[in-house]
């Protein structure tokens, strides 16, 4: 509706020229710090550019060597696998299930209880990542960590012995708020009469969720899963908790890229890996927008 009026009348009296002038500064900044880096990654990824040494002064064009090298790099394969485990464990399963569970359970809770739980879940989401990394170090540390104190055990260094499991639990805690809020508003759209009917015919909770609720929120589940997967795959917080260790056991892709680029100075190689991450992000984001458009 507004599109039609827009085409015929320019109520603000801006005019196209002035409008372009208004948009340009923002586009310049976006072009400089978002579009250009994304495109430049492709070029850097085709060179042997390094942070130090001869190739830092005069990088040579090496074609697809970095990409072919990645295929043979066991550490890259490892990072890819760990990222997959991290995304499946903490986003697709962890945040999704806990987020839905919270939204479902809190529906029937007392308002006070509901507000307190929601506030805590949200707090976990909004606290800065460096702070939550310390909070979880305090929980998982071997000497005097809260978890060991609760279990009465003094010998498990969780972040060292079970780094991926620790990261998955951590990221579930960290990111569930988004899924919880999304499913809360999705559940509010399920017709109460259908839930009432399910109760009168004596359907169990699980049957109600599967047969009544799920068909209503299927679209939300799909888009939510895509979004939280994208965020989780790009999350740099694992670096703050384990820095990829011990011995690359928790080196997800973002940490791998950082280690290759800054610690090892392999800028060309890490740019090639970044490009692959960009492509995956692009595919997921396009799929997300496609689904969103089809739903509306």
């Amino acid at each position: 509706m507004s599109a039609a009026t827009n085409r015929t009348r320019d109520t603000s009296g801006l005019g196209v020229a002035r409008a372009v002038a208004f948009v340009s500064p923002a586009l310049l900044l976006i072009g400089l710090f978002l579009v250009f880096p994304a495109l430049w990654t492709i070029y850097i990824g085709l060179t042997n550019y390094t942070l130090t040494g001869p190739a830092s002064v005069a990088p040579a064009f090496v074609g697809l060597e970095n990409f072919l090298g990645a295929l043979d790099d066991a550490l890259f394969g490892n990072a890819l696998w760990l990222t997959l485990v991290f995304v499946l464990g903490s986003a697709v399963l962890g945040q999704n299930l806990l987020g839905f569970g919270l939204a479902w359970v809190l529906r029937s809770a007392k308002p006070v209880v509901r507000r307190v739980v929601e506030a805590l879940v949200l707090l976990a989401w909004i606290l800065p990542s460096v702070v939550v990394a310390y909070l979880w170090t305090a929980v998982l540390d071997r000497d005097g960590g809260t978890l060991n104190a609760l279990l009465g055990n003094e010998s498990t260094a969780w972040l060292v012995e079970y780094p991926m499991a620790s990261l998955i639990v951590f990221n579930t805690w960290r990111g569930t708020a988004f899924s919880m809020m999304l499913y809360s508003s999705a559940l509010a759209a399920v017709p109460p009469s259908q839930l009432e009917t399910a109760r009168t015919v004596g359907a169990s909770g699980w049957q109600t969720v599967r047969d009544i609720v799920f068909p209503h929120i299927r679209g939300h589940v799909l888009t939510n899963t895509l979004l939280i997967s994208l965020w989780t795959a790009n999350d740099f917080t694992p670096f703050l908790l384990t820095a990829g260790g011990p011995n690359h056991e928790s080196e997800t892709l973002p940490v791998f890229i950082y280690q290759q680029a800054i610690t090892n100075g392999e800028l060309g190689y890490s740019a090639a890996i970044s490009f692959l991450l960009l492509i995956v992000n692009l595919v997921v984001a396009l799929l997300y927008l496609l689904l969103l458009r089809r739903r509306s």
């Binding site: 579009v35 850097i44 702070v131 909070l135 740099f236």
Partner: protein, 273 residues
């Protein structure tokens, strides 16, 4: 109450209690350790003292880094809000050729080009330009990353400002600049305030970009210094870290409380707001 109903009730209470514990226990450290005379890694009832606070304030970089954070966030927030408002107003009111495609690309960019995926080229670019350790440049980089989402959210707000206001102002001879300043901005204020708070919180919490681009400890914002405190001298500085974590986290929590109280907590198309 039947036995079955009682069992259900009990299970429900246990479940809620377990969820509460899972989310609350990690946070309690932030309430106890800053005030404990012998702060450990883990959680315990503190032996109350305020000495940690004195030691933190005397730390050579602690307060300075909070100041650095403020400078960095001020640059990023101001640039994002001003440029974002100008752009979204023009995009909302004028049908620039290719506008819809531009908006679509902006939406894609905001989620595709993440800090992680772009860290290598951004680092190389700033390195070659000699802008490593420049707070203003880092602020601009952060603003560039936030702008697409900001424009998107702001356009939503400005779209909902009735055009009839502008028409009447035009009839009375107001210039386009006056219309924007005196008609549109006051009406879109909740949206602009939301974006300011959102941008500030995002920039305040951003770790990766300042960590990459600000290598000199005296120029580091709180997010990076907090990390530096861990590696300083080989072991974590447990006197300063808890206090500093709390100091650093308070503005974020306060701003969220302010926004949710004033405008209601809402989130826009998957963007943390």
């Amino acid at each position: 109450m039947t036995f079955h109903a009682m069992l259900r009730r009990t299970l429900y209470t246990v479940l809620i209690a377990a969820l509460l514990a899972f989310f609350a226990i990690p946070m309690l450290w932030l309430a106890s350790a800053p005030f404990d005379s012998d702060p450990g890694v883990g959680l315990r009832w503190p032996d109350w003292t305020l000495d940690n606070w004195r030691i933190t304030f005397e730390h050579p970089y602690a307060l300075g880094s909070l100041l650095n954070s403020i400078v960095l966030c001020a640059v990023a927030t101001l640039v994002t809000t001003v440029l974002g408002t100008l752009a979204s107003y023009a995009l909302s009111r004028v049908r620039i050729p290719g506008r819809d495609a531009l908006l679509y690309v902006l939406l894609l960019l905001s989620s595709v080009v993440t800090g992680t995926a772009a860290m290598v080229p951004i680092f190389v670019m700033m390195f070659q330009l000699g802008l490593i350790n420049s707070q203003y440049a880092t602020g601009l980089v952060i603003a560039g990353g936030m702008l697409p989402a900001a424009i998107f959210i702001l356009k939503d707000f400005i779209d909902s400002v009735p055009r009839s206001y502008e028409e009447s102002a035009r009839v009375f001879g107001a210039s386009p600049g006056q219309v924007l300043l005196h008609v549109v901005l006051p009406v879109a204020r909740p949206g602009i305030a939301t974006i300011m708070v959102w941008a500030f919180v995002q920039a305040w919490g951003n770790f990766l970009l300042p960590f990459l681009l600000l290598r000199d400890v005296s120029g580091q914002p709180a997010a990076v210094l907090l990390r530096t405190l861990k590696d300083e001298g080989g072991s974590a500085n447990l006197t300063v870290i808890p206090v500093f974590s709390l100091l650093y986290a308070i503005p974020v929590v306060a701003l969220y409380l302010f926004v949710s109280k004033r405008y209601g907590f809402r989130f826009h198309g998957g963007i943390k707001a």
